[in-house]
C-alpha cells in the first residue's frame, strides 16, 4: 500500500514538471502480449513515449508491427499486459470500466480505418451522437454539428446516411464526429487505408488544417508514404518496439 502511494506522488510530480511542455499523453513501458492458442504474440513491447498538445504525429510500420494494438492501448480500447498510459495526469488503465468509457467519451476522439459511422444515423446525427451521450444542450449540438460538417466540407450532406456517402466523405464525417466531443486528442488508425489518392489528400488536408488552425492533436497510424510526408513527427514501430522517433 505505501509503495503504491509513493508511486502516485511520483507520477503527479512528474506530470506537473512536464506540464509546462504541455505533454498530454505519457506512455511508460507499455506492453501487450496476446496469449494465442499456440504461440504468444508480443504485439507491443515496452514502449515509452510522450505526446504534447498540438502534435501531428504518424505511427508508421509494416502490417503486423503493432500499430493498431498500440493505438488501442493508448485509446483505452485494449488492456495492456503491463505499463501505463497517462492522459492529463490520469492513469487510464486504473479507471473502472464505466469510468473508462466516460473518459474516452470526453477526452479521446477516434477515427477507424473504415465503417466508422452508425449506419442508421445520418451524417449530422452521427456527429451529434457523442454530444448526445455527453448530454450537451440541443442548441449547442445543433450549432457545433453544422460548424464541424462545414469544416470537413460536407455542409451539404447533413442528412445523408453513411451508405449514401463515398468512402472519403465517410472518413470526413468520422473526423467531424471525433471532434464533436471536444477531445484532448484524436487517434486515427490508418484513416486513409481504404481511400483513393485524391480522397487521401483531401482528408489529410482537413486534418492538417484542424491541427494548424485549432491546435488539435492528431496521432494517426499509416503505412502510406504520402501520408507520412505530411506528419510533423514520425514514430516508426517494428515488432512492437519504437525503432525511430523523428520530429521535423
Amino acid at each position: 500500500m505505501p509503495v503504491r502511494q509513493d508511486w502516485k506522488v511520483y507520477r503527479n510530480v512528474r506530470t506537473l514538471n512536464k506540464s509546462n511542455k504541455m505533454s498530454i499523453i505519457e506512455i511508460n513501458n507499455l506492453t501487450k502480449i496476446y496469449d494465442g492458442s499456440e504461440v504468444e504474440v508480443i504485439a507491443v513491447n515496452g514502449i515509452d513515449l510522450s505526446f504534447d498538445k498540438g502534435e501531428f504525429a504518424a505511427i508508421v510500420g509494416p502490417s503486423g508491427s503493432g500499430k493498431t494494438t498500440f493505438l488501442n492501448l493508448l485509446g483505452g480500447l485494449d488492456r495492456p499486459t503491463s505499463g501505463e498510459v497517462i492522459v492529463d495526469g490520469v492513469n487510464i488503465w486504473n479507471l473502472k470500466s464505466r469510468k473508462l468509457i466516460d473518459f474516452r467519451m470526453n477526452n479521446i476522439g477516434f477515427v477507424f480505418q473504415s465503417y466508422n459511422l452508425i449506419p442508421v444515423l445520418t451524417a449530422k446525427e452521427n456527429v451529434e451522437f457523442v454530444m448526445h451521450l455527453q448530454g450537451r444542450p440541443k442548441a449547442e449540438r445543433y450549432k457545433r454539428t453544422r460548424e464541424l460538417m462545414e469544416s470537413v466540407g460536407l455542409a451539404d450532406r447533413l442528412n445523408s446516411r453513411p451508405a449514401k456517402l463515398s468512402g472519403g466523405q465517410q472518413q470526413r464525417v468520422a473526423v467531424a464526429r471525433a471532434l464533436a466531443s471536444k477531445p484532448k486528442f484524436i487517434l486515427a488508425d490508418e484513416p486513409t487505408a481504404n481511400l483513393d489518392s485524391k480522397s487521401t489528400e483531401n482528408l489529410l488536408d482537413i486534418m492538417e488544417n484542424l491541427n494548424k488552425d485549432e491546435n488539435i492533436t492528431f496521432i494517426f497510424s499509416t503505412h502510406d508514404a504520402r501520408v507520412v510526408k505530411k506528419a510533423r513527427r514520425v514514430i516508426t514501430i517494428e515488432d512492437g518496439k519504437v525503432v525511430w522517433d523523428e520530429k521535423r
Binding site: R98, F110, L117, V130
Partner: protein, 405 residues
C-alpha cells in the same frame, strides 16, 4: 436521435427478416387470443348454465341437506335469516325454493324429474326463467299450473294444458301424489335443464310434499363473479348452524375441476407456442447482434455505456414483440367480436353429443379483457427474457475484437 429511434431504424435494416419475425408473433397472438376467448367463452357459458339459470351464485341450506338431499332436510325461513341475507350489500336478489324429485307420468310414459317449487316473482328476478318460456305462460302466485322443460314434455308426449301426474315421497314419508295442468313449456339454453326440470309455484309444491312453510334452499344472486368472495365471507360470518352457506363452485366441484383442467391444457399449448415464437425472436436478435458487432464496438469505443447499447437491442426486441401483438389484436378483435355476437353453432352430429352430455351445442367467445392483456404480459415477459442475451453480449463484448470484426 435517442436509443428508441436508433432501435426503430435498426429494425428496418432487414425488413423482410423483421416482418417474418413479427408475423410469427402475429400468428401466435391471433391463435392465443381466439383460442383463449373461445375457452373462456365456453367456461362462462357453462357457469352461466348452472349459476344464472339454476343454482345462483350462493345457496343457503339446512346444514345436513348437501350430504343428504331429502325433503326431510329442509328448514323454515326465519325472519332473522332473511334479514341477515338482505343486509349483505353484494346480494342483489334471493329467492326461496323447495326442490326434490318425483316420478312424472303421462298416460303411458313415466320419468324421474327434478321438481322446483319457486316463488314466481322472486325466481324471475334471480334466474329469469320467465324468458325461457317457449309456449304458454309463466307462473302466478298461488298458481296450480306447472312449467316443464321442452324435452321433458316431448318425452312424455305432452303439450300445453295436458295434465301431468306426479308421484313422490313427501315430508317424513307421507306419500305425495297430484295432477297438474301444464301452464307453460320452458326452453333453456341448457339441454340438461330441458330434459328434467319441472317448476311449480312454491306453496303448491309445499302442499304436494306436505312440507308446509319449508324450503330446501335460499338461492342468492350477487352482481358477478368478482363480488362472490366478499359476499361469501359476510354470509358465512352471519349465518351459522343449523344453516350452511355454499358458493356455486362448492356446489359444482366437477364443473370447476373440468374448467380448470381444460384451462391448464390451453395454458400448456399456448406456452409451447410462445416458446417456439420466443426462440424465433431470439434467433433474429442473435443474427442482428452478430451482423452488427463492429458498429457496436464503435459505439462503445466512442463513449456509449454498455448498458445503453443493451437498451437499444432490448427496445428492438420489444418492438418486434409489440408490433406482433398489435397486428395480432387487429386480426383477432374483429374475429372475436364477430363470434362473440354470433356464437358458432356446432354441426348436427357434434351438437347431438354435446346435448347428450348436457352441454349447449354453441361455441361461445369471451370478450374478457384478460384474453388480451394476458398476451401483452406474455409477450413482455418473453421479450424481457430474450433481452437477457443482448444485454449479456453487450456487457461482455471485447471492444478491440469487435473493432477488428
Amino acid at each position: 436521435m435517442n436509443n428508441i429511434i436508433i432501435a426503430w431504424r435498426n429494425l428496418w435494416r432487414n425488413k423482410r427478416r423483421t416482418l417474418i419475425t413479427v408475423a410469427s408473433v402475429f400468428f401466435g397472438v391471433l391463435f392465443s387470443t381466439v383460442m383463449t376467448s373461445m375457452q373462456e367463452g365456453s367456461y362462462s357459458s357453462m357457469v352461466d348454465n348452472v349459476v344464472k339459470f339454476y343454482s345462483g351464485y350462493i345457496q343457503v341450506h339446512s346444514e345436513d341437506y348437501w350430504e343428504n338431499k331429502t325433503i326431510n332436510n329442509t328448514f323454515e325461513p326465519t325472519d332473522s335469516l332473511i334479514d341477515k341475507i338482505s343486509q349483505v350489500k353484494e346480494v342483489i336478489h334471493f329467492t326461496p325454493r323447495l326442490e326434490s324429485f318425483a316420478l312424472a307420468s303421462s298416460e303411458e310414459i313415466t320419468k324421474g324429474v327434478m321438481v322446483l317449487g319457486v316463488d314466481p316473482v322472486k325466481e324471475s328476478q334471480v334466474t329469469g326463467i320467465e324468458k325461457w318460456i317457449e309456449k304458454g305462460r309463466y307462473l302466478n302466485p298461488g298458481d296450480k299450473g306447472i312449467l316443464v322443460g321442452i324435452d321433458l314434455a316431448k318425452y312424455l308426449q305432452l303439450d300445453l294444458n295436458d295434465t301431468i301426474v306426479l308421484l313422490s315421497q313427501g315430508y317424513h314419508g307421507i306419500s305425495a301424489a297430484g295432477k297438474y295442468p301444464i301452464a307453460g313449456i320452458l326452453n333453456f339454453p341448457s339441454p340438461e335443464l330441458n330434459r328434467q326440470t319441472l317448476y311449480m309455484e312454491l306453496s303448491n309444491c309445499q302442499d304436494f310434499y306436505s312440507a308446509y312453510n319449508l324450503l330446501t334452499s335460499l338461492v342468492i344472486m350477487v352482481k358477478n363473479q368478482y363480488d362472490l368472495p366478499d359476499a361469501m365471507k359476510e354470509l358465512r360470518n352471519e349465518i351459522s348452524s343449523p344453516f350452511s352457506v355454499m358458493s356455486w363452485n362448492e356446489m359444482q366441484p366437477e364443473l370447476v375441476q373440468m374448467i380448470e383442467a381444460d384451462r391448464a391444457g390451453g395454458v400448456f399449448m399456448k406456452a409451447l407456442l410462445y416458446m417456439i415464437i420466443g426462440f424465433g425472436i431470439l434467433g433474429t436478435i442473435m443474427m442482428m447482434i452478430s451482423e452488427r458487432r463492429r458498429e457496436m464496438g464503435v459505439m462503445v469505443a466512442i463513449g456509449m455505456q454498455r448498458f445503453k447499447l443493451g437498451n437499444i437491442i432490448f427496445f428492438e426486441t420489444l418492438f418486434i414483440g409489440f408490433l406482433g401483438v398489435l397486428v395480432g389484436f387487429l386480426g383477432s378483435i374483429p374475429i372475436i367480436g364477430y363470434y362473440y355476437n354470433n356464437p358458432i353453432r356446432l354441426p348436427a352430429d357434434a351438437a347431438e353429443i354435446m346435448i347428450e352430455m348436457g352441454i349447449e351445442p354453441l361455441l361461445y367467445f369471451s370478450w374478457m379483457p384478460s384474453v388480451f392483456y394476458n398476451q401483452v404480459i406474455t409477450i413482455f415477459v418473453i421479450t424481457a427474457l430474450i433481452a437477457i442475451y443482448p444485454v449479456y453480449k453487450s456487457r461482455t463484448m471485447k471492444v478491440n475484437l469487435a473493432l477488428r470484426a
